[in-house]
Amino acid sequence: MAQKRHLLTDIALKGLAIAPSQVYGAIRIVPLLRSQVRGDLRLFKRSYQQDLTMVDVGDANYLAYVPHGLVMSWSNNGEPVAAYGGQFQKRDGKTLPGNCGSVKLLHRMVKREQKNELRFLPLHLAMEGFLSLFFKGPSIAWQDYSRYAKSHGLGSRWEWSVSGRAIAGLEDAIRIFEIHEGQVGVLLFVAETLASAFVVPTPEDYRALHRSLLEDFYGELIYQYACIYDGPLSMTCSINPHSVKTLADLRQGVMQMRADWAEFQGFMSESLLGRRLNSQMVYATHSFYLQRFITDLDPHAQNYIGEAIVRENGELEYLKTYCLSASQTKRVYLLSQLSAHNWNLAATATALHNTKEELVKRLEKVGFGYLLNPQVREQALKR
């Protein structure tokens, strides 16, 4: 019950301030600053060199290219955690060398390695949660579903996304970005669309993890936008000349400019900030709660999945998000609707203002045809 209280319902960037953005080509990077850095939680990067990683997640396996994991160290009494290099490094998982590529075998997305140390795979944790949503398939043996769906659920699920290196201009944008003093995170926009939000506990961690933004994966839309657009929308902010009589007014004006930038960039990120979230607790310590979330699945808006660590008082210590592509949103939206109506096709179709055949076609289109009985599919095709 206590844990439920700490589930994230929306991202309010509590404890963080937004600073003016830096722009390169179509990419806009907005720094997030933390005023009070406590140091009792640190995140360290652990690089993996393998071409493929297979993670044992209990009743299934998760396969992906995982360039790095994060190690979270914390102290329960509020004392600062030892800096990187002052700690023992551990090697986790097994490596299988191969002729055409090596494979890493890891146990669990989130694994406690020592008393106060937890290893997790950033973004993959959220992606695994996303893939396993409604994974069990229909709970009632409706006639409309195929034998495969009844016995295996969704079976083998896969999604694809784009590496940061493939996003035009991102490498240079990250190279020339000037990290603020006290900066702990960024909001990353491509063509003024929020691509990712990334927050870590301390400025030192951020400096070390800044370049890892390039190794992360991004949604299809972000990749396309980076290809299409070569510049941002022009945004300017100025001081009202009539309000300036003295130097103090000018100073006030500059302060106002900063505030305006912060407010406007907050407004730009509304597709994530202030959205209602469905969260799931992944790991809870004495005062930190690691959880993954998905935004309310509005098919007409940008949707995000992600993971976060929240402190007991609600401050955001860690955040990483991934922007779902339109087709990914559609898929999970349809599944969620089916699940909400107990996987009853007719009832779901009515709720979506579709005929049953239309719903079947929609399911075919997003790649879930294999869940349906062949007769149902044929009938829908004939109409």
């Binding site: 830096q22 720094p31 000037e178 990290i179 003295t246 000018l250 004006g253 400019m257």
Partner: protein, 475 residues
């Protein structure tokens, strides 16, 4: 109507020239923080061709405007390649300017320019005469023939020169087969067989032969010291420290920017440990600059950019920050009352690091608050906290708070922006000038009135003509 067209043309010419000279002050065709080397080269090359085609005389005269050596070399090559377009009346002046510039160059650069004549296939009567004259005025050609052997050989061949004495046989006939009367040639021959003879050669030549004789680095550096130039001594300080020997060098005699860059190359601990020594050297070097170009200032504030972008690139490592530190030292000595305002406040300027965001508005406001007569801003002009912050402050300052311009403000930009062929300005109401080396600051303060856009073309032409006289007279 006619009058307005003429005045518009004059204004255009002035703008073009100011843009060109400004670009030539900063650009070296190398990788910058925001731009790559290719873009810089294409951009500056276009500017050169444009000015050469439209304002040939002024193009030649800009050799004397205090621009950097990379651009001086480009101008020489382009003038020599297109000699037939010179008007007869200007031919002599152009030739004199080229010869004088070559003579003022450090030898390695002059030889390189002449060698490039061959690479670019430039060969005409004038280019050959220029090469001949350069050979003739070298005091110790045998030294050059050893140190810059390949270049000297190339140029002599390309310009059909008759070399007197043993230089010809040394360069062109098999040098191994004879002994020489010239000491250096003989040392060069012997050094191929004896490790002891290596130490009579110039450092760069000896370095390769030392490798051949497998002389330990420490021993070699210890013994070759007397043959090093001061630049080499400065460059090899780190190498010497690793070999646990010391190379004696009077840091105060080094050029200001070079010294600043050396200081910035040191790790923070050694900067702290040698603080007094470095500080003194910096002041001494700054005083030397002022001795050559006197500058008396009253109450000066410097707004200095130490954001991450001041770290430059792998080719120009720390250059913008080095220029800022050099300017700081120079203004400190030149002004009666001086204060520095860094973008991220630093307690000790010698310990400055290139990091953090560019917030120019706050230090600028602090400088205005302090009540300076002159504010010098050294920055690459990319501000981001908030964007346009300093631009707004400068604009409102000029328009409403200080329309009489009681405070003069000048923006020195060490970085050329290849996209729009100019130095990124902060605000159109404030003059922006290029600054590659802090030593040029006194010249730039004089040049700033043209960048501001008030002075007419005639005045700029007079200024250039006067600089040419000064330039030719000082050789």
């Amino acid at each position: 109507m006619l009058h307005s067209a003429a005045s518009r043309l004059a204004q255009l010419a002035r703008e073009d020239l100011v843009m060109f000279i400004n670009a030539c002050l900063a650009c070296t065709g190398q990788h910058e923080f925001y731009d790559d080397a290719y873009g810089q080269r294409v951009s500056i090359d276009f500017l050169h061709d444009y000015i050469l085609g439209n304002y040939r005389l002024l193009y030649a005269r800009s050799l004397a405007a205090g621009i950097n050596q990379f651009n001086q070399a480009q101008i020489i090559l382009k003038l020599l390649a297109t000699g037939r377009h010179t008007l007869p009346a200007h031919r002599q002046e152009e030739g004199a300017l080229i010869a004088a510039t070559l003579r003022k160059f450090p030898p390695q650069r002059a030889w390189k320019v002449l060698a490039q004549l061959r690479q670019q296939g430039i060969n005409n009567r004038r280019s050959r005469a220029i090469a001949r004259d350069y050979f003739a005025q070298r005091q110790d050609l045998s030294f050059d023939a050893v140190k810059y052997r390949r270049k000297v050989k190339t140029i002599a061949k390309h310009a059909h020169l008759n070399l007197t004495g043993e230089v010809g046989p040394f360069l062109f006939h098999n040098w191994k087969q004879r002994t020489y009367e010239t000491k250096l040639f003989e040392a060069f021959r012997q050094a191929h067989y004896s490790a002891d003879a290596v130490y009579a050669l110039p450092f760069t030549i000896a370095e390769g032969l030392a490798q051949k004789h497998q002389i330990p680095r420490g021993v070699f550096l210890e013994n070759i010291q007397s043959r090093m130039t001061s630049g080499e001594k400065l460059r090899l300080q780190g190498s010497a420290e690793r070999s646990q020997i010391s190379i004696d060098l009077e840091l105060g005699h080094m050029p200001l920017t070079k010294l600043a860059l050396y200081i910035l190359s040191l790790p923070l601990q050694s900067r702290k440990a040698r603080r007094a020594e470095l500080e003194q050297a910096l002041q001494k070097s700054a005083r030397q600059v002022l001795y050559k170009a006197p500058l008396k200032l009253d109450r000066v504030a410097a707004v200095l950019d130490c954001s991450y972008s001041a770290s430059g690139s792998y080719e120009k490592h720390m250059r913008p920050l080095g220029v800022a530190l050099g300017a700081h030292a120079l203004l400190q000595v030149a002004a009666q009352d001086y204060r520095a305002f860094w973008t991220i406040p630093v307690e000790d300027p010698l310990l400055v690091q290139a990091r953090g965001q560019t917030d120019l508005a706050t230090p600028l406001l602090d400088a205005l608050d302090w009540g300076a007569n002159l504010i010098v801003i050294v920055s690459d002009g990319c501000e981001n906290d908030p964007p346009q912050g300093a631009a707004q402050v400068l604009q409102l300052c000029r328009e409403t708070l200080d329309p009489q311009r009681r405070v003069s403000i000048i923006h020195c930009n060490p970085v050329f922006n290849s996209e729009d062929f100019s130095l990124r300005p902060l605000c159109p109401l404030i003059p922006t000038v290029g600054l590659r080396e802090a030593e040029d600051l006194p010249t730039m303060l004089g040049f700033a009135r043209f960048a501001e856009g008030n002075a007419p073309l005639a005045e700029l032409e007079d200024y250039l003509a006067a600089r040419v006289q000064q330039f030719l007279g000082s050789v």
